[in-house]
Amino acid sequence: MQVLWSSFQYGFFQRALLAGLGVGLACALLGVFLVLRKDAMIGHGLAHISFAGVAVGLFFGWLPLFSALGLTVVTAGILVKIRQRAGVYGDTAIALVSSFGFALGILLVSMSEGLNVNLFAYLFGDILTISTLEVEISLILAAVVVLVIIFSFRDFLFATFDPEAAQVAGIPEKRVEFLLTILAGVTVVLGMKVVGLLLVVALMVIPAASALRVARNFRQALLLAVVFSLSEIMVGLCLSFLLDIPASAGIVLLGFTVYLVVLFSGIRWPRRI
């Protein structure tokens, strides 16, 4: 316990916790909408684009967070257009875009020397080495994502629950899809230092999936997703410090364990609360 308490005194641990909680909040809120729209894998697809973005940044000596953010957000917009205009199935569009991103990343890595070591931090996550600048950017972006969700709350909920009726009520489904996909792009980039690009989808999907099994209404679903996400990140970080295991693996495995407990216990939010 003494060791755990002392960990909170370290600057790197405080930075990791702060960034992790900010990212966890954005991922949890967005994840509930994406899971309910049956679009959970969009995070995984966009993560592959972020990989190319990171490679571009490292190749040209830019901050990878910025290059990944730029490329991912632009590609997220293109992905929506491909889905809406070309009449391609949603998962096919994700496969197209993600394979393009990964191929581009591999090409850039192969053209440069010494990139591989740096890339590993983004692929598998390395939150304990996060810099103050990265924490600040992460918190600002997380705040933007949360604010957009708050101010578009009715539109997102209505268009997710009943797109046709929402359209009739004057809420354009295409605009909602576009906004949510862009937000997913931003959130993927936020999560890449926390759990890595290969696991970032877990931050969006696992807390949301657990919450959706317990909640009786949408308010509870959002609240529970945030509680699951933040507690999994906090406990996962502590476990990684105590047991000397990678933080990304700790957070995701803990999240998956919580999901299994929720699934098999059949626990539900009590009525009339």
Binding site: A165, A169, G170, R216, R219
Partner: protein, 259 residues
């Protein structure tokens, strides 16, 4: 009977005007030169066989599909200029339009359709309480306000969707085969409720249906679509018409009827 002939002599302004609408999916024309007016107080049954274009026509009126030719006017405004969608309540087909596992309460479903609802209205229990409860009382579902929508029966769910449409104070309700998969008794109660809304609140109702028998006593106008408008008239005329007799003879199967 073309729409213009049916409406001849009416002085009031139609709430919905469909003028010479054409629509085709790829190269298959599903609507040809359809004219139809809907007035305040109408209870219009839109009938026709499967694939006749009923749902397509509804979706064109609701701006969900764009007609190839023709014009729609809602409340005397061209469709592209029409902004006040709260005047139109829409209840989609029951069986297909929502995920029963979606964790959303009756209260949240109804509040979704309040244009003025903000995020904090969903976050407190007092969420636009009066508007929501009032709409639920009309359909007799106020005791289920905190129930998850997926746990309700099909008939109860449809009542909640009517409450959702009513909460924005519409002047027209459009329902697309709302009772598919619902038992006969529940259907009858459901249509009684629609008749009450039509008579007491003066709501114009457009009902896409196959169940012409069960709604017979409530409707006052009938339009039959089979790619074009093959019959349009008052309910009384409809019951006297050869068209109706032919329908009965065919066991309610709709037929192609050229003018």
């Amino acid at each position: 009977m073309p729409s213009a002939a049916v409406d001849k002599g009416r002085l009031d302004v139609p709430l919905i005007e469909v003028k010479g609408v054409y629509y085709s999916y790829n190269h298959l024309e599903v609507l040809t030169d359809v004219h139809l007016n809907v007035y305040s107080g109408d209870f219009l049954a839109l009938i026709g066989p499967n694939g006749a274009g009923k749902t397509t026509l509804i979706k064109i009126i609701l701006k969900l599909l764009k007609p190839k030719r023709g014009e729609i006017r809602l409340f005397q405004q061209k469709l592209k200029d029409f902004k006040d969608w709260s005047l139109i309540g829409y209840i989609p087909q029951k069986a297909t339009h929502f995920d029963p596992l979606f964790p959303v309460s009756v209260r949240e479903v109804v509040a979704m359709n309040l244009p003025q609802a903000r995020w904090y209205d969903f976050w407190t229990k007092k969420m636009k309480e009066e508007d929501v409860i009032q709409a639920l009382k009309v359909v007799g579902m106020e005791n289920y306000i905190d129930e998850r929508i997926g746990y309700l029966s099909g008939g109860q769910q449809q009542r909640v969707f009517i409450a959702r449409a009513l909460v924005s104070q519409p002047k027209v309700l459009i329902l697309d085969e709302p009772t598919t998969g619902v038992d006969a008794l529940t259907q009858e109660k459901f249509y009684d409720l629609l008749a009450k809304l039509n008579k007491e609140k003066g709501l114009a109702i457009i009902l896409v249906t196959h169940e012409i028998g069960i709604i017979n006593r409530h409707i006052n106008r009938v339009a039959c679509i089979n790619r074009r408008l093959v019959y349009h008239g008052s309910h009384a005329e409809f019951c006297q018409s050869d068209f109706f007799r032919q329908m009965l003879a065919e066991g309610h199967h709709m037929i192609w009827h050229k003018h």
